[in-house]
């Protein structure tokens, strides 16, 4: 277990170096000059040259990368070209919003997905099963921005039940939850659909398994047969899908934050990319990558808890 964690941390370091290199290069090699953006339309050529010198943009790219990484190792992600704010600070203030959104969406996805999947499996080919299948397929294919817009039009603009956007209140307050609910549904639907499909198929397989019949032969109550004996087995493959979907969700926050005007890391990233704010883009990408690795580590740890056949020692 400890071995696994250490191994993953080492992998994470290698991964982050790789990712930072790729992002760094693609930012520097793609067209668009941060200096002229910072200088603005009125800046003269020499002004821009001065800014460039100042930011070190005239050094060879590899030297720039080395300088940047020296900072990163010391915990310094640099300063935003645009706002001069420290990148770490900017991310830290925005990160809670993104995390809340991602976790809320995950909860929506897991609760709806697993429940729908299991009910579908138990009532195979019933109208519940058929409609859940149809809704799932729709859920997988509908783009986030479209779903978000429709939800806003219906529940915020039309019915006026929920706020149009923003995420200003803490999530544990009623106001905060109201703000979180539409974005969480928007972002969680695709994952809910995938989790539902997976839960249904694994549950269908598991309820036909010999050990489920054994449980019935012992006189175990039907509820216990399903929710204890079958469920734990059926969840093993579903956990993988949940882990993968977390990555998918993190990607989805970019669009969802945009649609609901949530000040999170996703939006920060979009703005930074538009402004060629290299340090800010780098910093946010590194954060998301680290988070993804961390979630996968947690998934693997959950695995070993629910499936005794898996051991990391």
């Amino acid at each position: 277990m400890v071995g696994l964690i250490i191994r993953r941390m080492l992998q994470l370091v290698v991964l982050l170096i790789g990712i930072s290199f790729i992002v760094f290069m693609s930012m520097h090699l793609s067209p668009g000059d941060p200096a002229s953006i910072i200088g603005g339309p009125t800046a003269t050529e020499s002004d821009i040259e001065a800014i460039r010198n100042n930011l070190g943009l005239n050094d060879p790219v590899l030297v720039q990368y080395a300088n940047y990484m020296t900072g990163v190792v010391q915990g310094d992600l640099g300063f935003s070209y645009q706002t001069k704010q420290s990148v770490s600070e900017a991310i830290i203030t925005r990160f809670p919003n993104t995390l809340n959104l991602a976790i809320a969406s995950m909860i929506v996805a897991v609760v709806i997905g697993v429940t729908a999947g299991i009910i579908s499996a138990l009532k195979q080919n019933s109208w519940i099963d058929v409609s859940s299948t149809v809704v799932s397929l729709a859920g997988i294919s509908i783009p986030n921005f479209w779903l978000g817009t429709v939800l806003i039009l219906v529940f915020s603009v039309g019915l006026q039940w929920l706020p149009v956007g923003g995420l200003s209140e803490p999530f544990w307050t009623i106001e905060g939850m109201k703000q979180l609910i539409l974005p969480a549904i928007t972002l969680g639907t695709g994952s809910a659909a995938m989790i539902a499909r997976m839960s249904r198929s694994t549950m269908l397989e598991v309820i036909r398994a010999d050990f489920v019949r054994t449980a019935r032969a012992k006189g175990v109550k039907e509820k216990t047969v399903i929710w204890v004996h079958a469920l734990r087995n059926a969840m093993i493959p579903v956990i993988t899908v949940i882990g993968l979907n977390f990555g998918f969700l993190l990607g989805g926050t970019i669009i969802t934050e945009q649609v609901f005007a949530i000040n999170g890391v996703g939006r920060l990233m979009i703005e930074a990319i538009a402004a060629r704010d290299f340090p800010m883009v780098q910093g946010s990408v590194l954060l998301v990558a680290a988070l993804f690795v961390l979630v996968n580590l947690i998934v693997d740890l959950i695995y070993s808890v629910i499936d005794p056949r898996i051991s990391y020692d």
């Binding site: 010999d210 050990f211 019949r213 054994t214 032969a217 012992k218 006189g219 004996h229 499936d307 005794p308």
Partner: protein, 336 residues
């Protein structure tokens, strides 16, 4: 006086399939007395497991008992509510399955799985159930039972898993044990141990046992009575001596001929020609006629009735009619 434990009468079990409703068990009747071992034998697919599962009411969900009765300890099981049946299962009647490798739940400990029936039916506390579980594991010959309680099925060999299954099945001292080929998946030495174990426990607990097998060697070893099934029907039933010394049905004779005989090196192993019909095949007359070398016109058109060979021995085959006719003719002529 033998005490009746289980009485199955004209059991018909059908499956809903893409080809419509098909019968896997066709009007089977038999009974099991207290302390008696009844073996069900027949080729793979003839309906042995489905007969057993019908009794336990554990059929796959496309299967159903569509006719007949199953009386157990005087109660009709086919009309019983699920929650009442549940109180009998694992308690008064228990079953060991064909496939020990998959019969145990992989994500729960042996201890959890063996404590469960004790808690449900005997209302034992966690600690009492644990103690009793260890005792049961010891009883079925599992070494280090305390340690086994906290292990998972993947940590056990096939033989050990089947012993655990037996321990679970016997946890509440059932009156009836159904063992569906409990040793087919195991190697020969383990096989003998498991059979001995079931036999010993039967004596000890006075259980009735239904032993499903397609191995005539197993039958010879454990059976009091034998029922031979073919394509969903019971075709012959007899006490074990009578069946081995005086088999009547050509199919039974074929089964016995396909068993190797160590004492007689010249014994010719013979496979029964042909294969078991599919459930969806329509067969008129005797269901065995197209594989039977003695089949007559009558066999092809009329379903055979049941003939009595002696008190303990019945058979469904038209050849009996000829023989019994000959015999009565012979006695009649000798009386003249």
């Amino acid at each position: 006086m033998a005490e009746l434990l289980l009485d199955v009468n004209n059991l018909v079990t059908k499956f809903k399939t893409a080809d419509g409703k098909l019968s896997a068990v066709r009007g089977v009747s038999f009974s099991v007395n207290k302390g008696e071992t009844v073996c069900i034998v027949g080729e793979s697919g003839c309906g042995k497991s489905i007969t057993s599962l019908s009794i336990m009411n554990l059929l796959p969900n496309n299967g159903e008992i569509s006719e007949g009765s199953v009386r157990f300890l005087g109660q009709e099981l086919t009309k019983m509510r699920q929650d009442e049946l549940r109180k009998l299962r694992g308690n008064k009647m228990a079953m060991i399955f064909q496939e020990p490798m998959t019969a145990l739940n992989p994500v729960f400990t042996v201890g959890f799985q063996i404590r469960e029936p004790l808690k449900i039916h005997k209302r034992l506390s966690q600690r009492e159930a644990h103690r009793k579980g260890i005792e049961l594991l010891k009883q079925v010959g599992i070494p280090y039972p305390e340690k086994r309680m906290s292990q998972y099925s993947h940590e056990l060999s096939g033989g050990m898993r089947q012993r655990v299954m037996i321990a679970i099945a016997l946890a509440c001292r059932p009156s009836l044990l159904i063992a569906d080929e409990p040793t087919t998946a195991l190697d020969v030495t383990i096989q003998a141990q498991i059979l001995d174990l079931i036999d010993d426990l039967k004596e000890e607990l006075g259980m009735g046992v239904i032993m499903v097998t397609h191995d005539m060697g197993v039958v010879a070893e454990v059976a009091d009575r034998v029922m031979v099934m073919y394509a969903g029907e019971k075709i012959e039933e007899a006490d074990v001596e009578s069946l081995f010394s005086n088999p009547q049905h050509p199919y039974t004779k074929g089964l016995l001929k396909s068993v190797p005989n160590v004492d007689d090196r010249n014994h010719q192993l013979e496979a029964i020609p042909g294969t078991l019909p599919n459930l969806n095949e329509v067969i008129t007359g005797c269901r065995f006629h197209n594989r039977c070398e003695f089949a007559t016109e009558k066999c092809r058109t009329q379903s055979p009735k049941t003939f009595t060979v002696n008190d303990e021995h019945t058979v469904r085959c038209w050849l009996q009619e000829v023989e019994q006719h000959d015999e009565s003719a012979a006695t009649a002529s000798s009386n003249q």
